[in-house]
C-alpha cells in the first residue's frame, strides 16, 4: 500500500490523554495554529486490529510530529503499569523518518531535563524540548522548534491560548461531554483555536 500524501503543515501530536495534561493539550493546539500549522491526534481513530495501521497512516501523512513523553509514568490505579502507547508511536515514527528523512521530522518533548535519558537511554543524543509543565513553556518551545520569521511573540500566543481556554466549558457543554479528548471536541477546539489565532494575529 503506498503511503498517503504528506500535508506539509500537519503536525502529529503524540500526547497523553489525561486530566493533568489538559492545559498543555490546549496549548499545543493553540500554539500550532498560531504558527500556521495543523495539529492531528489519534483520538478519532477507533480501536481494533486496524488502529495501529491507521495511526501509522496518520504519522505518514504528517510532515512533523511532536512526542510529549512528560507523563510516561506509573499509573496510580493498580496494577501499577507505565503507559507504552506513546513510546510505541514514537518508535513507529522514528522508523518512518529513518526510511524517509525528507518526509518526516519528529521532536521530543519533556517536562524536566534528563528524564528522557533515564526512561529511554537509546535516545541519548536526542535533546528534548523542555516545557516545564507550563503553558508558556509549550508555547515558547514551539517557537523554538518551528522557526518562523513572522512568529508571534509569546505574549500574543498566551492571549490566543486564553481565548481558547476561556471557552472550554461552553465548548464541552455544547458537545454534551466532559471528555476534553473526545474526537468531536478536538474538532471544536481546533475551530476555536484557529479563530482565536486569526483574531489575535490579524485577519
Amino acid at each position: 500500500v503506498p503511503p498517503p500524501p504528506v500535508n506539509p503543515d500537519a503536525v502529529f501530536l503524540n500526547i497523553p490523554y489525561d486530566k493533568e495534561f489538559q492545559n498543555l493539550y490546549l496549548a499545543y493546539i493553540s500554539g500550532l495554529y498560531q504558527l500556521g500549522l495543523e495539529p492531528f491526534v489519534t483520538s478519532g481513530i477507533p480501536g481494533g486490529e486496524r488502529r495501529l495501521d491507521r495511526i501509522l497512516s496518520l504519522i505518514q501523512s504528517c510532515r512533523y510530529s511532536i512526542h510529549d513523553l512528560s507523563r510516561v509514568e506509573m499509573s496510580v490505579a493498580p496494577p501499577a503499569t507505565p503507559r507504552f502507547n506513546m513510546p510505541l508511536e514514537l518508535g513507529l515514527t522514528i522508523t518512518w523518518a529513518k526510511m524517509h528523512p525528507r518526509r518526516h521530522t519528529w521532536f521530543l518533548w519533556e517536562s524536566t531535563p534528563r528524564r528522557i535519558q533515564k526512561s529511554m537511554s537509546d535516545l541519548d543524543g536526542t535533546d528534548p524540548y523542555i516545557h516545564t509543565g507550563s503553558v508558556e513553556g509549550v508555547l515558547s518551545e514551539l517557537r523554538n522548534a518551528f522557526i518562523h520569521r513572522n512568529a508571534p511573540p509569546v505574549r500574543k500566543m498566551v492571549a490566543a491560548f486564553r481565548l481558547l481556554e476561556g471557552n472550554l466549558d461552553a465548548i464541552l457543554a455544547g458537545a454534551g461531554t466532559r471528555n476534553l479528548y473526545a474526537a468531536s471536541v478536538f474538532k471544536d477546539l481546533c475551530f476555536v483555536a484557529l479563530n482565536a489565532a486569526r483574531i489575535e494575529l490579524g485577519t
Binding site: D9, Y33, Q34, L35, G36, L37, E38, Y64, T105, F107, L108, T126, D127, P128, Y129, N144, A145, F146, I147, H148, R149, N150, A151, P152, K156, A159, A160, R162, L163, G166, N167, A170, I171, G174, K187, D188, C190, F191, V192, L194, N195, A196, A197, R198, I199, E200, L201, G202, T203
Partner: protein, 67 residues
C-alpha cells in the same frame, strides 16, 4: 540543543484550514457565538483583560461560517 526546522507557513492561519475541519455550519455558528459571548462577558466584567485583538474589535465571524 534540540533540533529545529525553519517553516514558512501562513500566519495567521488561512480559512482553508477551517474547511478542512469539516465541522457543520450550524456548529461553527454555535462556536462563534460562544466565543462572542465570552468576549462580551469579559468586556463587561473586566475590560482590561480583553486581549489586543479583541480590544481592536476584530470580527469573530470567519468567512466560511458566514456563507
Amino acid at each position: 540543543m534540540p533540533r529545529s526546522v525553519h517553516i514558512s507557513t501562513l500566519i495567521p492561519p488561512p480559512l482553508s484550514m477551517v474547511k478542512r475541519l469539516r465541522i457543520p455550519k450550524a456548529r461553527q455558528k454555535q462556536l462563534l457565538a460562544i466565543m462572542d459571548q465570552a468576549r462580551q462577558r469579559t468586556a463587561t466584567a473586566n475590560p482590561r483583560e480583553l486581549s489586543d485583538g479583541l480590544r481592536q474589535g476584530k470580527k469573530l465571524l470567519s468567512a466560511s461560517a458566514a456563507r
